[in-house]
């Protein structure tokens, strides 16, 4: 029994291929999943802090004075649809149709950009009402939480742009689709975090 297991493991795990793995999942992808687990705790702490500080602001403006559910819903929808574009981009990388893949990567970038621009204008509006990072516990926890998320979106957009460039140069054949898939994992993660933020920060009064 043990020998049979060892033998089959040996087949799957070719000693001469440095990239063969026990699970069949590449190191890059597995490592990135682990990193995302770490990111969950990172955002979890930021979100928990926001929730702990909810209602503790000594001075206004307060959340109810500022949040515009309609506008935030629109920007959230745009961000969510960017995940669809990401899935399509990966699909076309698998199919070796690089121009369509590049097109959908640009769609990801465009939707992420729309989200950032809309959020930028709401930041401007909030600051106009007197909410700053130092004005209250609400200001501190809101800006650091959402700012960290926006930084993640921005990093994702740069990543997509680099992938598009490499696709254009023909450096990502279907056999190397992991590169796009991992970027996709990251992008979906950033989206999911926003769903949590949207629900906890904006929807719950």
């Amino acid at each position: 029994m043990a020998q049979a297991v060892a033998a089959s493991a040996h087949d799957a795990h070719d000693a001469h291929d440095p990239h063969a793995t026990n699970t069949g999942v590449s190191n890059f992808k597995l490592g990135f999943w682990v990193f995302l687990a770490s990111e969950c705790l990172f955002f979890g702490t930021l979100i928990s802090t926001y929730m702990v500080y909810k209602g503790t602001a000594l001075e206004g403006p307060y959340p109810a004075d500022l949040f515009d559910i309609i506008k935030t819903t629109i920007s959230t929808t745009v961000l969510l649809f960017s995940s669809l574009a990401m899935v399509l981009a990966l699909h076309y990388v698998h199919e070796a149709r690089k121009n369509l893949a590049i097109l959908w990567l640009f769609a990801v970038i465009a939707m992420g950009g729309t989200f950032l621009v809309m959020e930028y204008f709401s930041y401007i509006k909030y600051i106009g009402y007197g909410l700053t990072i130092g004005s209250s516990t609400f200001g501190s926890s809101y800006f650091v939480l959402t700012g960290t998320h926006k930084a993640h979106v921005a990093v994702g957009m740069i990543w997509m742009a680099i992938l598009a460039w490499r696709l254009h140069k023909g450096k990502i054949p279907p056999s190397k689709s992991d590169q796009v898939e991992v970027a996709g994992l990251y992008w979906h993660f950033v989206d999911i975090i926003w769903i949590v933020i949207f629900t906890l920060v904006y929807l719950i009064p």
Binding site: A6, N27, L30, V34, L41, T45, T49, G134, V144
Partner: protein, 612 residues
């Protein structure tokens, strides 16, 4: 299988010999070299932190003494704690992870060799950075737990706390990267037949520790970010006058801080779980139970953090929960102790220095564990909190547990790393001076604590009647210091003139002993096939594993190529974080650009030679 065959290294293959010289070490991605650098750096910081401890003990020799000012004393105990936890105990354990784990699972390197190098350089630069404050007289001074509001601009106006929060957040990156790397390595890179439940205990505990690293470090990272924003950009996270809650810092710190305790202790548990069977000539008693106990400690370790905060006033319900959780976590720990004892029971015990350190650990760690159980009771903690009793307790578990285990590992694996045995006579001197010095330093602190001597205060009143305990502790600390010098002399002496070790000087059972000492840079010419937990004790299998690993490789093993981007990226990250000190937003943004550039260059550089 003669020794001569074992010592035979493949000759005439230029590509098989590793390059030498300083540049080859700076650009190395070899897990074994990175391990050696981790070890040397951690040993250096061990002496820095040790000198700080001795200065503390000099100041406390007599009551109402003023060898150092209160301010300098604050810096000394803050940096002693910070150094010993983040720059000694953790990286020393990581040195062992790096060297031993790939060898124990039959891999040629870790999953991400360049990320591994990055971890080391970030740790080194962060460690240096956090110590830079000494040179301008502004070392961190708000204790290693950095409680709000002591760290606010109002109470810490200088650069002291800036060095602390920036340095620690730099080092945190190294820990998360290390955790990702070792989880991936252990899940994905095991040799054929090396099933999870065949892995040596040290690899298992590395695995559990890595999960604690990737989950606990982000929490302290966010707490440090809040602190950084408070100090640099005027946010009010920990400002009570604006509704901020200083207790939030305590929660975030200890949500990280208690898993951190297990990050320090579990590697050591893994080390002695490998050593005790070797020197008892018996397989580990109850292998699966020891594995499950380690996993359970990791889990429960996440639910006990508020026992550091019983005096904060969280209320009876919260206190009761954490009292119960703290008592429960003693169970898997106790199970492990009994398993180690049962492994020795009826075995043929060889009292080598490594084994002595393991037995010493069992004794002193149990003392620390028992005072830990005392602290689990909230009412007793109210009495003991912030007294020297607590100082005695955590030194018994961290030094008596974590460090003792790592020293045992040092004597055990040194022959694998250098090809030479550490001198046993000097080793026994090291062990006994450690035992005497350590107990003489920390046992009296139980008494001075119960007499009411507070920790973190630069002096104490003569009325407390704790002079004798303090003087005993100071004498003990210097004996302990001498033991460290004996260790370093032994390392230096034996690395050059020690007795040749051969592949398996201890007749141990695990895979790392099947290859020559020191190993080839590709570790295994052919990946071994594993059929049991003790591959080298199983006779038929022993011949096969040795025969396989002594072969010259049929085809060139494909090894990752050296790279200078890890050190450059680490440097750029350190500089970028340091620029946060300026508080000028465009300087900070400019500082990120080199990080971005180095990341790109890293990403586009092939990790393996062309064609692979």
């Amino acid at each position: 299988m003669s020794t001569a065959t074992i010592e035979h290294a493949p000759a005439g293959h230029g590509a098989h010999t590793e390059p030498t010289g300083l540049w080859s070490w700076i650009t190395t991605v070899d897990h074994k070299r990175i391990a050696i650098m981790y070890f040397l750096a951690a040993t250096f910081f061990f002496f820095v932190g040790g000198v700080e401890a001795l200065l503390i003990r000099i100041q406390l020799w007599n009551p109402e003494q003023a060898v150092f000012s209160a301010e300098l004393y604050n810096q000394l105990f803050t940096m002693h704690g910070t150094t010993m936890v983040f720059l000694v105990a953790m990286p020393m354990a990581v040195a062992f992870f790096n060297y031993i784990v790939p060898l124990q699972i039959g891999a040629r390197d870790v999953a991400f060799p360049r990320l591994n190098a990055l971890s080391f350089w970030i740790f080194l630069f962060g460690g240096i950075y956090i110590n830079l404050g000494w040179f301008i007289g502004a070392a961190p001074h708000a204790s290693w737990v950095g409680y709000a509001t002591l760290t606010s601009n109002a109470y810490s106006p200088g650069l002291n706390t800036d060095f602390w929060f920036i340095g620690l957040s730099i080092i945190g990156i190294a820990s998360i990267a290390g955790g990702v790397n070792f989880i991936t390595t252990i899940v994905n890179m095991r040799a054929p037949g090396m099933k999870m439940m065949r892995m040596p205990l040290f690899t298992w505990m590395t695995f559990v520790t890595s999960f604690l690293l990737i989950t606990a470090i982000p929490v302290i990272a966010v707490a440090l970010i809040f602190l950084g924003f408070d100090r640099t950009f005027g946010s009010v996270f920990f400002d009570p006058s604006m509704g901020g809650d200083p207790v939030l810092w305590q929660h975030l710190f200890w949500i990280f801080g208690h898993p951190e305790v297990y990050i320090l202790i579990l590697p050591s548990f893994g080390v002695i779980s490998d050593i005790i069977p070797t020197f008892s000539k018996k397989p580990l008693f109850g292998y699966p139970i020891v594995v499950y106990a380690g996993i359970l400690i990791g889990f429960i370790g996440w639910g006990v953090w508020s026992h550091h905060m019983f005096t904060t006033g969280l209320g009876p319900i919260a206190d009761s929960f954490f009292v119960a959780a703290t008592m429960i976590i003693a169970i898997p720990t106790g199970v492990k102790i009994f398993n180690w004892i049962a492994t020795m029971w009826g075995g043929t015990i060889r009292f080598t220095t490594a084994m002595l350190f393991c037995i010493g650990l069992l004794a002193v760690f149990t003392v620390g564990g028992l005072s830990g159980i005392m602290h689990a009771a909230a009412p007793i903690t109210l009495q003991q909190h912030d007294s020297y009793f607590v100082v005695a307790h955590f030194h018994y578990v961290i030094v008596g547990g974590a460090m003792m285990g790592l020293w045992a590992g040092l004597y055990y694996w040194f022959p694998k790393v250098t090809g030479r045995l550490l001198n046993e006579t000097l080793g026994k001197w090291h062990f006994w001076t450690t035992m005497v010095g350590f107990n003489l330093t920390f046992f009296p602190m139980h008494f001075s604590g119960l007499y009411g001597m507070p920790r973190r205060i630069y002096t104490y009143s003569a009325d407390l009647n704790v002079d004798l305990f303090n003087q005993l502790a100071t004498i003990g600390a210097f004996i302990f210091g001498i033991s460290a010098l004996i260790m370093v002399w032994n390392l230096w002496h034996s690395a050059r003139k020690g007795e040749k070790a051969g592949a398996n000087p201890w007749e141990a059972a695990t895979l790392e002993w099947s290859i020559p000492s020191p190993p080839h840079h590709y570790n295994f010419p052919e990946l071994p096939v594993v059929r049991s937990r003790e591959p080298l004790w199983n006779d038929g299998e022993r011949e096969e594993v040795l025969a396989v690993t002594m072969l010259e490789p049929e085809t060139e093993p494909v090894m990752p190529v050296p790279s200078y981007w890890p050190i450059l990226l680490a440097l750029s990250i350190t500089v970028a974080w340091a620029l946060v000190m300026t508080g000028i937003w465009w300087v900070i943004v400019l500082g990120i650009l080199p990080v971005f550039f180095c990341t790109l260059m890293w990403a586009f550089e092939p990790a393996f030679p062309e064609g692979h």
